[in-house]
């Protein structure tokens, strides 16, 4: 069995066969949800639905809330000027109070991006099912959890029943082999971008990816999270990595994690039940050798439109490999991005740099970026910001003096939140501005209407801030 199969089987509440609505073979099963994370943007309508129907939250004790999507990242002592955002934040506060849900609010030292704080607080555990009204819930798969994004109707469904009806996804093994020659400069972000580039944005639709191989085992938990985070960008329902000693060591001692004997018992259970099975049968599989990969940069308007930093912008036909619809999409992307085929990606001036998001705003990411920042200055043509993923990450980074390193170089050092990954707060690109971003989506208008996004690793984005354009950071270290 695959790790996913084991988790699935452990969470079956009802599999049908006894009549009723969901009885057909191959139809959805009722799956228990162990952890439900909520935030201010996709939850108000769910709570309203509960109220209208006179329903309660079944397990408020398994539900955790924070505010991250639309929160400003300047000083927390300032009022929120955007009234609509402020209403949404207040609505979450009231809903959590009314339904008895733990909330890490703006004043809390535990506030942060929901996918950063879940693992950090030990809420995320191996073998669990985790949902959130946010597609990047796949991040938690790094712990060997089945973690996936849901819509608001499903948020309401989980609040009311602690379960969801799901058709069992297919399994997809991505076997990662090879040893990176430059592990400081060719990062997990480059690994996942190179995978999406290869399999496409719908390459994993309907599947749960299991990332396997020694290369994965050697990564830290934070690095694994970057990889699982972007599973959704390949269309996957979820992505996961079988837990190992690195996972258990990370979890031990965290606030909401099991303690003492209970922790030891759980480790026994995880080792016994979730261990990597070399003979597991997957519905599909692919092998990716990352031994020779270069730092990756996106040039277009979806994350599969990616090239090596040493390459030039591709011609649409070349990118689309003869597919007519994809050619049209590439032509449109080039137009939106204001780029011409044949131009080197390192020759394009950058206006903004964003280091942050649930993909790349953990301590490892900030340390990685700081390697090229120390003792250098941000280009005078660039406005660059660092948005730590949580208040805890911010504090940890400040203890290491990273805030000083970034600020002395001319970066803005801000409060935690989703920020310019999706630009729901005041951190947005102006029309036509071009940004090197460590986030996960380069869609049209994602970071602000008319804004142009190039996705990259933290160290590549940091180096772009210094030079004012992308550089092959392997030449720096």
């Amino acid at each position: 069995m695959t790790t996913f199969d084991t988790i699935w089987n452990n969470h079956l509440v009802y599999t049908g066969g006894k009549g009723g609505l969901h009885s057909r073979d191959g139809g959805p099963s009722l799956i228990y949800i162990d952890r439900h994370l909520i935030h201010e943007v996709t939850s108000p309508q769910a709570f309203e639905g509960l109220r209208v129907s006179g329903r309660k939250a079944r397990r408020p004790d398994l539900t955790f809330a924070t505010m991250d999507h639309n929160v400003p990242t300047d000083s927390r002592s300032l009022p929120i000027i955007d009234e609509v955002s402020s209403t949404q934040i207040q609505t979450l506060v009231q809903n959590c109070r009314e339904f008895g849900i733990t909330l890490f609010d703006l004043a809390s030292p535990d506030q942060g991006i929901v996918h950063i704080i879940g693992p950090q607080l030990g809420i995320t555990l191996p073998g669990t099912t985790i949902v959130c009204g946010d597609s990047h819930t796949s991040t938690h798969g790094a712990f060997g959890a089945f973690a996936f994004g849901i819509g608001t109707s499903e948020v309401e469904h989980v609040l009311a029943t602690q379960c969801l009806w799901i058709e069992k996804p297919k399994t997809f093994a991505i076997n990662i082999t090879g040893v990176r020659k430059n592990p400081h400069t060719v990062t997990p972000k480059d690994i996942i971008l190179s995978i999406i580039r290869r399999i496409g944005t719908a390459g994993a639709t309907g599947t749960v990816i299991e990332y396997r191989g020694n290369t994965i085992s050697e990564l830290s938990m934070e690095q694994r999270m970057t990889i699982c985070n972007m599973s959704i960008e390949a269309g996957a329902r979820a992505g996961l990595i079988t837990p190992d000693q690195t996972t258990f060591d990370y979890i031990k001692g965290r606030r909401y994690a099991p303690r003492d004997v209970e922790f030891e018992n759980m480790v026994d259970f995880w080792q016994e039940n979730l261990k990597a099975n070399r003979n597991a049968q997957f519905d599909k599989s692919v092998s990716v050798n990352i031994g020779g990969i270069a730092p990756q940069v996106t040039w277009g308007t979806n994350p599969s439109m990616t090239i090596d930093v040493t390459e030039s912008i591709p011609y649409p036909e070349e990118f689309a490999k003869g597919n007519e619809s994809e050619t049209k999409a590439a032509v449109r992307a080039l137009q939106y991005m204001d780029l011409s085929p044949g131009v080197h990606i390192t020759d394009i001036p950058i206006d903004r740099v964003f280091i942050g998001s649930c993909t790349n705003s953990r301590l490892d990411d900030l340390m990685e970026a700081s390697l090229v920042v120390k003792g250098r200055r941000v280009s005078s043509n660039v406005r660059a910001m660092v948005v730590p993923g949580s208040q805890q990450v911010k504090l940890d980074a400040e203890r290491l003096g990273l805030d000083i390193v970034f600020k002395e170089a001319g970066f803005e050092w801000r409060e935690s939140g989703c920020s310019m990954c999706l630009g729901m707060n005041p951190d947005i690109l102006g029309r036509g501005e071009r940004c090197a971003s460590t986030s996960n989506r380069n869609f049209e208008g994602r970071q602000g209407a008319g804004g142009r996004t190039h996705l990259s690793s933290p160290i590549m984005a940091a180096a772009a801030a210094i030079e004012g354009h992308f550089v092959d950071v392997r030449e720096w270290l």
Binding site: V13, Y14, G20, L21, R24, G27, P28, L30, V41, T42, P44, E48, G49, S53, R55, R58, L62, H69, T102, I123, T128, G133, D134, S135, G149, I150, G151, T152, S153, E154, E156, H157, A160, T161, T201, A202, T205, G206, I232, G235, Y256, A257, P258, E262, M266, F269, N302, S325, E326, K328, A329, R332, M424, R431, R441, F443, E444, G445, R446, G450
Partner: protein, 204 residues
């Protein structure tokens, strides 16, 4: 939810692959706390200029396509963000069915929660519909899982697959939470069993 009824309409052609939910409903409209009124924001940044004026060559601004209830598009429609606001905007605009060769998973599920039927057809069938967009009228018959395609008096039928429980929820306009709550004994049994077996999962 309103039961999904048989209807006839021509389709609106949106000839693009990989349309993500950021395009269907841009982020500036996600700050509202209700479920209705999003139709005017559907495809906002493609529909309106930065000054708020309609962009003429975008299909939704073409009067020819006004009041059509079917959207015809290409592969991987609805990718990206899980925002159900995308489905709310589509429903509120008056669209009842989306036809494409493939959809992204989360968006696909969100449609059924909102009375919208996403239909997967083969590349060949989708191409045929694009080629004949001005002539063909489509009648969506969900119970029979078929589209009756009428082109200048001639009809042909295109079959589609839909998972049985999703079909019943749409046809009967069912409250899925109400149904699940009837499984309460199974859920309680699961919780009791796990409280002993895996206590760490059942408490926080």
């Amino acid at each position: 939810m309103e039961p999904f009824r048989r209807f006839k309409s021509k389709a609106i052609p949106l000839d693009m692959v990989n349309i993500d939910t950021d395009q269907i409903i841009p982020k500036q409209f996600l700050k509202l706390v209700h479920k209705t009124g999003y139709g005017k924001y559907l495809f906002y940044d493609w529909r309106f200029s930065s000054e708020g004026k309609p962009i003429e060559d975008f299909v939704l601004n073409n009067v020819k396509y006004n009041n059509r209830q079917i959207l015809l598009t290409r592969d991987n429609f609805g990718s990206g963000s899980s925002r159900e606001h995308a489905a709310w905007a589509i429903r509120d605009y008056g669209l009842k069915t989306i036809i494409a060769p493939s959809f992204a998973d989360i968006f696909f599920n969100n449609c059924f929660k909102n009375g919208i039927l996403p239909i997967r057809l083969s590349q060949r069938e989708v191409e045929y519909l694009f080629q004949n967009i001005d002539n063909v009228e489509l009648e969506i018959n969900l119970p029979a899982q078929e589209i009756i395609v009428t082109d200048s008096g001639n009809s042909k039928i295109m079959h589609f697959e839909v998972e049985e429980s999703k079909k019943r929820i749409l046809l009967d306009g069912l409250d899925e939470i109400g149904i699940t709550l009837r499984y309460h004994p199974y859920i309680t049994e699961y919780e009791n069993r796990n409280s002993t077996k895996l206590p760490s999962y059942q408490k926080s």
